[in-house]
Amino acid sequence: MTLLDVDELVVDHRTPGRPAVRAVAGASLGVAAGEVVGLVGESGCGKSTLARAVCGLAPATGGTVTFGGTPVGRLGLRRRDRALTGIQMVFQDPYASLNPRRRIGAQIADGLAVAGDRATTPGDMLERVGLPASVAGRYPHEFSGGQRQRIAIARALAARPSLLIGDEPISALDASAQATVATLMRTLAVESGAGLLFISHDLSVVRLIADRIAVMYLGKIVETGPTEEVWTRPRHPYTEALLRAVPAADGLGRLPEELPGDVPDPSDPPSGCRFHPRCPKAMDVCAREEPAPGPVSCWLYPPA
């Protein structure tokens, strides 16, 4: 059964005096319990907005987000619906997401209280993320970026989430800490039977930890599939271009391939398929009509 079901989600960013920017333009995505889904795409494609809509931080203009059968509405000032505390998020910048004036143990204890867990101590949670229990009395500034992100993960897991969302959780970290923190998130989510929606622009890390990959372009999901399949046999021309741009550390001196053109303005998207102005395989139909959503949303692969 799917734990999280995002169906035809539309999210607009409105600024007074300007046209609304459609950051997410009808995206559908599912995450099952115990499954790790990697959402990738260039900056500005709407992947973070999608994550924020999933936990109610951005209001949906259209479409639905359902979590374990409960619709997710906008998070207001009041206490969140009990059923929805099963969604926990780890944000991009651990320097901003932890409260600098509270001890880390107290911040983790908040999560434990939500889950009604009196047996576990904040120290136990710290040990699960690879930090000594004795540091619970310290403040966030006493830790490095990688350690802070571990603390943020411990805090999120303390609430016993059934869905963990990581919104670029590793991009603010050192290269040497990125793979370890990503792997840690996967291990802890899978161990506890939770689903993980992992958002990143780093394709090689997503390949490492995700069971399934969803590729997003200008507010739409253009391809989804099992990680290895997408990686070894990308079908959508955008996925192909994205993968070809990743330089390999093989010592061969091969320059990565460039994808010409810029991501178009989401407030004025191209007609037809949104990728057609940059697509090397564009056909006549691509400029006229939008391809149907599916595992591969492209006219080269019409649904059978």
């Binding site: 260039e42 793979a179 741009a245 990565p256």
Partner: protein
């Protein structure tokens, strides 16, 4: 012959040894990649070369540009080297470009100062430079401001600014780290082409071994203020001699390092 050679460079700040005897040499038309994790001293090596170390830093060793010693040059003379013979590109083009000056002005300012060019001549060279770094409609772009460009375009502009006075050495500190892979590919191709066409000596500081593998000719790996391994790209990345280089390569996400799941 090496264009820039650094020998036994030591830097200490507030009693902490940041660099503990770094040797590096850059040659014309070659990209020298400098790898290592943060805190290993990569950026400090670049900054020391330009004399941009923080106040109170103690420096010793040799930094020679051709046969000219740069360490200990009086500030006035160092100013003539900086920007004119050695230029730098920083990680984040959003902060390294001046937000309130037009792109054209940022390029011409150097040329008018260092090369004493007139307004018209400087402007036409700025447009040439913008063409060279592949900015679309360069004459129009010169009149616009940095915020009107995307991240990749801004980094191209920052490169044009660095190239304004025809430097011999370009120091690029994590020039593509803030960019998406698709945009990064374009900037890496640009760096490689400029290095080949203009015969620049490039010091590319990056933690990304993939980036290193794509553009560097020589690779040096730093750790704790020392260069632990240096050599041709293919040798260092394919048959690393130092255990630390091997550890860095092993830290890269690869299929066989996928975590094992419990029962």
């Amino acid at each position: 012959m090496s264009t820039l050679s650094i020998e036994g460079l030591k830097v200490s700040i507030g009693g902490h040894d940041i660099l503990r005897g770094v040797d590096l040499s850059l040659a014309q038309g070659r990209v020298h990649g400098l790898a290592g994790e943060s805190g290993s001293g990569k950026t400090m090596t670049g900054l020391a070369t330009l004399g941009l170390l923080p106040h109170g830093a103690r420096v010793s060793g040799r930094i020679a540009l051709g046969d000219r010693e740069l360490l200990g040059l009086p500030p006035r003379e160092l100013n003539r080297v900086r920007g004119r013979e050695i230029a730098m590109v920083f990680q984040d083009p959003a902060t390294s470009l001046h937000p309130m000056l037009t792109v054209g002005r940022q390029i011409t300012e150097h040329m008018r100062h260092h090369l004493r060019l007139g307004r018209t001549e400087a402007h036409s060279r700025a447009v040439d430079l913008l063409t060279q770094v592949r900015i679309p409609s360069p004459a129009d772009a010169a009149r616009r401001y940095p915020h009107q460009f995307s991240g990749g375009m801004r980094q191209r502009i920052a490169i044009a600014v660095a190239l304004a006075c025809g430097p011999r050495v370009l120091i690029a500190d994590e020039p593509t780290t803030a960019l998406d892979v698709t945009v990064q590919a374009g900037v890496l191709r640009l760096l490689r082409r400029l290095c080949d066409e203009l015969g620049l000596a490039v010091l590319l500081v990056t933690h990304d071994l993939g980036v290193m593998s794509a553009v560097a000719d020589e690779v040096s790996v730093m750790r704790d203020g020392l260069v632990v391994e240096t050599g041709p790209r293919a040798r260092v990345l394919r048959e690393p001699g130092h255990p630390y280089t091997r550890a860095l390569l092993d830290a890269l996400p690869r299929e066989d390092t996928r975590p094992q799941e419990g029962p």
